[in-house]
């Protein structure tokens, strides 16, 4: 699956910022790197989800654009938290939708990363007292890269399809 160039570029930019200062990294560069890594993952998830829901190709582009503006960070985070715990973390109705399949370790890692990185982004953007370390930031960027690769590679897994729908309508799914 082709992913938005936007996500790739955001991740490239995050890596560039994280590595930019050879000896003592500027905190402002590390903060922007964390934020960029989060948005690379956010936009990739939204795009892949929209393609799943509205369909690919130019005829559905307008619908995908419209749909893309309806995802919320908080709802995506709540869905991710549930999937991060595996099938046991999901509401019973949603477990039925998985039709007996498990939540793969790759999807759990993606969901964990999204949940974690959203909090990191919040700290990076709003809490100037937090001191970032380059190694820590590089871990996050590398993990996002692996998740983008997973989204690119994985096409038909039921657990991923369920997750990509859930991130849009989690509040209604979870309150049933």
């Amino acid at each position: 699956m082709k992913l938005a160039r936007q996500s790739e570029r955001l991740l490239d930019q995050a890596l560039h910022l994280a590595k930019r200062d050879r000896f003592r990294p500027e905190q402002v560069n590390l903060r922007r790197a964390v934020s960029g890594a989060y948005y690379a993952l956010f936009h990739a998830l939204v795009e892949v989800s929209c393609v799943r829901l509205a369909g690919p190709g130019p005829r559905t582009r307008a619908m995908r654009r419209l749909l893309a503006r309806t995802y919320t960070h908080a709802e995506m985070q709540r869905a991710s938290r549930a999937f991060a715990q595996g099938a046991n973390g999901l509401p019973p109705d949603l477990r039925l939708a998985l039709a007996g399949s498990e939540v793969s370790s790759e999807l759990r890692e993606l969901a964990q990363l999204f949940h974690r990185l959203q909090d990191d982004r919040h700290e990076a953007d709003y809490d100037l007292a937090v001191q970032w370390r380059r190694g820590d930031v590089l871990v996050q960027i590398t993990a996002v890269g692996a998740c983008l690769e997973y989204l690119r590679r994985e096409r038909s897994a039921r657990d991923l399809r369920t997750y990509l729908t859930s991130i849009l309508v989690w509040n209604r799914l979870a309150s049933r």
Binding site: K19, R81, D119, R133, G135, D136, L138, V139, I141, T142
Partner: protein
Amino acid sequence: MRPHELPLPSLDLATLKLPRKPRVRRIFIEPYVDHSGGDELRVWIIFDDATTDRDFMSPGVREVTRAITDALLEMGERRFAYTRYVRSREFRRRRAG
């Protein structure tokens, strides 16, 4: 019992199946309140001082993360593990500061 009243979990490095490299020296877990106000866990994964930036980007770190988060889930831990990755000296400096 509310999440912040629960005891902190502890993980034994010897029983976790961790890769040899990058070498984990210690795992330190403390209470953490996330940006939405949830009582969760901050899990510091503390690597050897010889760990390079390149090591931080290696697949081994992913294995470490997976081993730790899986172990916490298996223990029945429902608080979210917000992981941080640092070298020993960075962690010591942080604790001192």
